[in-house]
Every structure is written in structure tokens, then in C-alpha cells.
């Protein structure tokens, strides 16, 4: 196991915004501007809707429905 294999990248944001964020995170659990920006970006990325790749074939659907009926989960 290596100590740190993660790669980081540098992004640029306007200095006045950075200052505001630094003020805002004082006294919170965020230890740096980077940790705050990472948190916010992760939140935004995860909230974006993706197409749900759950298409059942007709045969699949019948198979699953039959099993759920046999076990009493569906009537």
C-alpha cells in the first residue's frame, strides 16, 4: 500500500470569490478552500440526473415477475 496515489489538479477561481469562501468556512468543518470547493462540486455532480440504464427485456421482466409472484411479493 502506498501512502498517496491520488492525483489532484489545480483550478482557478476569481480571487474575490476565494476570499468570500475563506471567510465563509471559518469555524466550519472545512479545513481549506479546496475541501469546500470539492464538497460543493461533488454535491452538484451527483445531483445531475443520468439516464437510468435499467431496461428489462420482455423475457427478463417475465422471469422477475414470476419469481416475485411465486415468493408472494407480488399478487
Amino acid at each position: 500500500m502506498e501512502k498517496d496515489s491520488k492525483n489532484y489538479t489545480t483550478i482557478s477561481i476569481p480571487t474575490p470569490l476565494a476570499k468570500k469562501i475563506k471567510e465563509r468556512i471559518k469555524g466550519t468543518g472545512f479545513t481549506s478552500l479546496s475541501s469546500y470547493v470539492t464538497y460543493v462540486l461533488r454535491e452538484i455532480i451527483s445531483s445531475e440526473k443520468e439516464e437510468n440504464d435499467e431496461a428489462f427485456t420482455k423475457e427478463d421482466e417475465e422471469k422477475v415477475r414470476d419469481r416475485l409472484r411465486a415468493l408472494g411479493y407480488l399478487e
Binding site: 498517496d4 461533488r42 415468493l71
Partner: protein, 377 residues
């Protein structure tokens, strides 16, 4: 329907009859590891499609995330004795089998690595103390880890399979029932009144309740799997609206990793199609290794988890309010509170007696007392 963790439900199951696997080196693996294979193959551990390699493991230990930044907190590993794999190299394929689960799986070796057990224990369990059951398991592991994709070819029918739904099936079931928001409740105990209160409180705000007991290796003194399932059947039959609650098991071993395991439990329920997950006091804890609400606090590190935790504190019955309360909603002093202590209920049941009805439903107690073997020896 909520998307699976990592975006896609993994399916590593190939049912092929009479397949010839004779050309590969074969290893008999532990039941727990074979259940990890089943959980990978059926998508419960999505997005994992095999056992972890070095980069993912390092990221999980350091950042609680896979290499691609997807939240993941519990390493899913397979260990080998160095002498058994000395002739193997990256790019080779081996067959993994287990008699109890009937698992026959291929493992494509992508990496063979050394690891430090103490570093692994400290990062996952926050302790190196061998008295912690999860740490003890790590110290008993063999000296090499192998990372790589698995392909499941076979597994056999087992007890409780009638309660065992895959994520594909639960997602279909929820859709058929017209449930958009589903709250999952994880358990390894029969339900007392406090559990019922938590489940019904959560259910009030969503469409359906998914009761998901963990079946598998437990500690001595834990309730047996039969007892847990039968007691929930009784509770659901008499006290839950049929169209609002379903129960299905989860076969996985408890790691007792407290906060990290709470995240892992939430991820698995997300893959089953649940949108919410109940996290109680000292979730997945053991002894006093974790603070009572560490498993709540850790969720703040994951704005991108994709499943909403519902935090519950411990509940008690207030004799003044004459109802179930917690410290947030009841103004009365502690002397009016009767705790739903699992230990207390267990002791009463161990003596063959029926716990008071304000602790456990009569139908549930009576169901439990019908069993000859109530606890794991």
C-alpha cells in the same frame, strides 16, 4: 427510480451449464468471500466488478472513495497465501469455489499486492486492537491480496432463498408497487417497539419500507437468522400495512466498522433501489470503539452519496407521555423513561419469559419463544 451507486447496476453472473474450468488453478475460498462474490455479481456492491486493486484500496483507506472518486468505505478484498499463488501472475485467471454457497467463479488477476495489516485495521476500524472482531479478522488474513474482476458461473440454492431478492428484483418490485421513495431499515435483531416506532416514523414520509435483515456469520449471543425472520414476519402480519412494507435478506458478514460500515450499508441499500436509509445510534458498532453518533456524523463527508440518511437517536418509552419518545421530543426526566435495551429484552427471552408489551409486541415475543434455539452459540 434512484440510479445505482456509480451509475450502473453491475451484473457479473453468467449461467452456463457444463462449462469446462479444468484448465485453471482452483482455490476453495471462505464462505464470507464467496458471499462477497455473490454480492458483486448481483450488483449489491455496484460499481465494484471484482476485488479491489491497490489504487482503489489506498483511496478507500485515505479518502473513503474509489480511485474514480465514488464514495466507498469498506475494502472488498480477497487474500491468498503467498506459497499458493507463487506461480501466478497478473493476466492469469483462477477458479474460486465454496462448498457452502456452491459458488464457482473466475477471478481475472489484475494485481497481486502486499499490504500492511495494521494500516488496514487502523484506517477501516480506527483501531489496531485485536479484540475488535473486524481487526481480528484482518490479522487472520493471508499475506497477499489479489485484485481483479470476477465472473460468477454457479451458486446453489440455500436456506432463506425465498427471502433473497437481488437489486434487479427489488427495483422491479418497487416499481410494480408504485413506490418512488423507499426507506431501508437494516437489522440483525428481532423488532422491539422502538424499532417499530423508527420504521413507522420513517415510513410516514415515504412510499414504502424495505426491511433488510443481515443474514450470515454473527457473534455468539446474537439472535439466530430463523428467529429474526420469523419475528419480523409476525410484526408485519399484525402491525404493518401489507402494501407498504416488504422484507428481503442481505447475505453479508457484519464487519462492526461503525461509521464506515454505515456508509457501506447505505450504498448497498441504494443499489437495491432505496432512496432513504435509517441510521440509528451506534450503527454497526461494537464495544466502545465508536461514539454513539459517529455513524451519523460521517454522512456529512458525502454530499454525493445519492441516498438520504435518516438519523434516529435512541428511543425509550416515557411513562409520563405514555408513548415512545427520544431526548429531542420529550421534556420529562430520565426517571420516567424505560429504555428498549436489547440486552434487557434478550435476558428476558433467554429466561423463556415474555417481555412487557410496551417493549415488544406479544405476537413477536411469542414467535421468538417458540424456537428451541434462539441465540447463536
Amino acid at each position: 427510480m434512484i440510479k445505482p451507486h456509480g451509475g450502473k447496476l453491475v451484473n457479473r453472473l453468467i449461467k452456463k451449464k457444463n462449462i469446462d474450468l479444468g484448465g485453471y488453478k482452483k482455490f476453495e475460498i471462505s464462505t464470507n468471500t464467496s458471499e462477497d462474490i455473490l454480492n458483486i455479481a448481483n450488483g449489491i456492491f455496484s460499481p465494484l466488478n471484482g476485488f479491489l486493486g491497490n489504487n482503489d484500496l489506498n483511496n478507500i483507506l485515505k479518502d473513503k472513495r474509489l480511485e474514480d472518486d465514488t464514495p466507498w468505505t469498506i475494502p472488498i478484498l480477497i487474500d491468498f497465501d503467498k506459497n499458493d499463488i507463487k506461480e501466478l501472475k497478473e493476466g492469469d485467471t483462477v477458479v474460486l469455489t465454496n462448498k457452502e454457497t456452491g459458488v464457482t467463479s473466475l477471478l481475472d488477476i489484475e494485481e497481486i499486492q502486499d499490504y500492511d495489516k495494521k494500516t488496514l485495521a487502523q484506517n477501516v476500524y480506527k483501531t489496531k486492537d485485536e479484540n475488535h472482531p473486524g481487526v481480528a479478522n484482518i490479522y487472520n488474513m493471508k499475506d497477499k491480496l489479489v485484485g481483479g474482476k470476477i465472473t460468477l458461473y454457479e451458486n446453489k440454492e440455500r436456506e432463506y432463498d425465498n427471502y433473497n431478492l437481488t437489486p434487479k428484483e427489488t427495483r422491479f418490485l418497487f416499481k410494480e408497487k408504485g413506490w418512488n421513495e423507499i426507506v431501508a431499515f437494516q437489522t440483525r435483531n428481532p423488532p422491539h417497539i422502538g424499532h417499530e416506532y423508527v420504521q413507522k416514523t420513517a415510513l410516514t414520509f415515504v412510499d414504502g419500507l424495505f426491511i433488510n435483515p443481515i443474514i450470515g456469520k454473527k457473534k455468539s449471543g446474537d439472535f439466530t437468522d430463523d428467529v429474526i425472520l420469523a419475528s419480523y414476519e409476525a410484526l408485519m402480519k399484525y402491525y404493518y400495512p401489507k402494501e407498504r412494507a416488504v422484507m428481503s435478506i442481505l447475505r453479508t458478514s457484519m464487519k462492526y466498522a461503525g461509521p464506515r460500515e454505515a456508509i457501506h450499508h447505505a450504498i448497498m441499500r441504494k443499489n437495491f433501489g432505496c432512496t432513504h436509509f435509517i441510521v440509528g445510534r451506534d450503527h454497526a458498532g461494537v464495544g466502545d470503539y465508536y461514539g454513539p453518533y459517529d455513524a451519523h456524523d460521517i454522512f456529512s463527508e458525502f454530499p454525493d452519496l445519492g441516498i438520504t440518511p435518516l438519523f434516529f437517536r435512541s428511543f425509550s418509552r416515557c411513562t409520563k407521555c405514555d408513548s415512545v419518545v427520544n431526548d429531542k421530543i420529550c421534556p420529562h426526566e430520565q426517571k420516567y423513561h424505560v429504555n428498549f435495551a436489547g440486552k434487557k429484552i434478550r435476558a428476558i427471552l433467554r429466561d423463556g419469559k415474555v417481555p412487557p408489551e410496551d417493549m415488544m409486541r406479544k405476537e413477536v415475543s411469542e414467535t421468538i419463544l417458540k424456537f428451541d434455539k434462539t441465540f447463536v452459540e
